[in-house]
């Protein structure tokens, strides 16, 4: 496990421990509890201030005469509550301390119920610097450190000064990558020497008009349009105007949802650095994600039907630290590697995720996976062989079960990844690196058995991508089950270290130029 209770060790955060210089333990920014808890403060102020404010607006005295006798008590009560809240904030700030040393990040929190947490740096799955709007005004940022526990971030440091957060991210990544291992390890407790942030190179950006267009043409819009038309028709037919009433909250929810997607996807920038893929996005709340190399468990390129006229695609990934995407929330933004992009953008991102595609013609294979379709004249029970890319599609007998998809549903394997494609209208293309396959299952229901078909399911960590080969011929599926477990086994044997940069390469500064070289396992 990456997370272990620290036990009796570690400097205690008792009342006697004062100052920030205490053995390399640092505190978050003093303003952070207020930025984090502004909702509570605002609620308090609202609760006590509303009455007086309303009276003021009405031109009356600040306090009701009847209240005058009770005012001191009310003020006392409110003041005490406010004081307690602020005291709680201050205490929580005082007792939250962190340290990055000796290959671990440690965070102590809590005042009555203490929690000491440490996570191994080389177990990092992803690291994010998040700036909610309010924090951004104050120049603060939150650092999130994810390990493979599906969902909740192992370590939240909220809030640090923005440059501090970036510095800390660089330090953590330098240790996790092994780039800093060449230097003699400082004494435990001593602050680490500042690491140089790995240089990055912007690969692509998503222009805001395209983002707006993609949202308008998304699946969501189709459903909404259908719902809107249905309700208008219903109200016209039944002469019942009540349907319009239901539309109002729906519209509000809709605007909120579009706004949230736009806010999240605005100014999306993907960059590559030796520390992995960097994503930056956000209009009001900005977020910078770093996914180190080899942390992506599975990837899906998908295209809703309406996006086809512009040739747009979306890329989503499974990363062990991110967990399942909650609907339209933060999770779905975090698991999106590309909110909308052209085929060229998709190929670019694929080349970052799979630096070694394991095939001489990656662009051809990937394009065949994304847009390709097998020849309709492919005969025989052995499944059609696509001309480009070598995708093995469902056999001809599957056309009764999947009249549209049978020429599209298929798989191929390169030396490093298994590629699955499906969907004629809702195109999707899934990439699972061999060394990331957890387990495999062959499944068959009664209907599929009549046609001698079977599904092959690949299990990966929780996330938006659920790799599944649909309706393959039984013999091909069986062969793939064997071949794929052999390939995964071989890939696991090749996989060496969680440190993606060899310590011998360059002790202090990470190799600057070629992003294709460092990041990948064996």
């Amino acid at each position: 496990m990456a997370l272990t209770p620290e036990g009796a060790g570690g400097p205690g955060a008792g009342p006697g421990a004062g100052g920030t210089g205490d053995a390399g333990w640092l505190r978050v920014h003093p303003a952070s509890p207020f930025v984090r808890g502004w909702v509570a403060l605002a609620a308090l102020l609202f609760f006590f201030g509303r009455d007086s404010f309303e009276r003021l607006l009405q031109g009356g005295p600040l306090f009701d005469e009847r209240l005058a006798g009770r005012a001191p008590w009310l003020l006392l009560g409110g003041g005490t509550l406010l004081l307690l809240t602020v005291l709680g904030f201050v205490l929580s700030w005082y007792f939250t301390r962190y340290q990055v040393a000796g290959g671990y990040v440690r965070v102590n929190t809590g005042f009555l119920f203490k929690q000491q947490r440490q996570a191994r740096l080389d177990r990092v799955q992803a690291i994010d610097v998040v700036q909610p709007f309010l924090a951004r005004i104050f120049g603060l940022a939150e650092l999130r450190f994810d390990v493979a526990d599906a969902g909740q971030s192992a370590v939240h440091l909220a809030y640090l000064r923005a440059d501090e957060a970036r510095q800390l991210r660089a330090t953590i990544l330098a240790h996790a990558s092994g780039a800093a291992d060449g230097t003699p390890a400082p004494e435990p407790g001593q602050p680490e020497t500042a690491a140089v942030e790995a240089p990055e190179q912007v690969v692509l950006t998503v222009p805001p008009p395209r983002l707006a267009g993609s949202l308008l043409l998304s699946e969501q819009s189709v459903v909404i349009l259908a719902g809107g038309i249905a309700s208008v028709l219903l109200s016209a037919v039944t002469e019942n105007r009540n349907f319009a009433v239901f539309l109002i909250p729906a519209a509000i929810g809709l605007v909120a949802s579009y706004w949230s997607s736009f806010n999240k996807g605005y100014n999306f920038t993907a960059a590559v650095s030796p520390d992995g893929i960097r994503l930056r996005y956000g209009l009001l709340d900005t977020q910078a994600q770093t996914v180190p190399p080899g942390r992506i468990q599975a990837l899906k390129v998908s295209q809703p039907p309406l996006w086809r006229m512009f040739g747009w695609y979306r890329i989503q990934v499974n990363v062990a630290g991110y967990g399942l995407a909650d609907s339209a929330g933060e999770g779905s933004a975090r698991t999106t590697l590309l909110p909308v992009g052209s085929l060229a953008d998709v190929l670019e991102i694929l080349s970052l995720v799979l630096p070694d595609p394991g095939t001489p013609d990656p662009a051809g294979v990937f394009t065949a996976g994304i847009t390709g379709i097998a020849d309709a004249t492919a005969e025989g029970s052995g499944g059609g062989q696509d001309t480009d890319g070598g995708f093995v599609t469902s056999p001809r007998r599957a056309r009764l079960l999947a009249p549209l998809g049978w020429r599209r549903n298929g798989f191929t394997a390169t030396e490093t990844a298994l590629l699955l494609r499906s969907g004629r209208w809702w195109r999707s293309f899934v990439v699972v690196p061999h060394q990331r396959t957890q387990s495999l299952a062959l499944q068959q229901g009664p209907l599929a058995r009549r046609f001698r078909l079977a599904d092959l399911v690949l299990h990966t960590t929780a996330g938006p991508v659920a790799p599944r080969l649909i309706q393959a011929g039984l013999d091909e599926a069986r062969a793939l089950l064997d071949a794929q477990s052999a390939r995964a086994r071989a890939a696991r044997k090749r996989q060496k270290s969680e440190h993606w940069m060899e310590p011998a390469a360059s002790p202090a500064a990470p190799p600057a130029d070629d992003p294709q070289e460092g990041p990948h396992h064996g």
Partner: protein
Amino acid sequence: MRTEAIDPPGIDWLRVSPKYVKVRLAGWALGNLIVVSLLSIPLVLVLTGVWTWPPVWLGVAIPAAALLLALWRLVLIPRQVRSIGYAEREDDLLIRRGIFFQRTLVVPYGRMQYVDISVGPVERSLGLCTLKLHTASAATNAEIPGLPASEGARLREQLSARGEARLAGL
């Protein structure tokens, strides 16, 4: 219809204990007792005159249909239990189950995160246990029910040892 096994040929499957049928029977009896008696409530209420609506034939038909379904599943239980199998290969564990809805699962030893053994009250009285493998994927769902307790313990040790030897990261 002849059932063609979907698993790769040439594997010696180890079958689970035939006593596991009794565990499934106990679960079946309990589950269907509850379902059928719940579905019979309208019938009782109609017969006693509390309710007037569902006509008697409907009141009889619904629990009867549930009972028929239950009986069909009862007939299937022994075959289902016989269809559960597992095989230890050099680098992975294979688990298969099902007759109508077949599934063959391959779990590499190096991907195992931990192994669970659980024993329910009926299983305990028959000396059986259920072994469950966990990988980093929640979808894996690798369960071998109805193992004799000694075989379960052996398998657990075996799997842990092999997992140790072939440990891979995430």
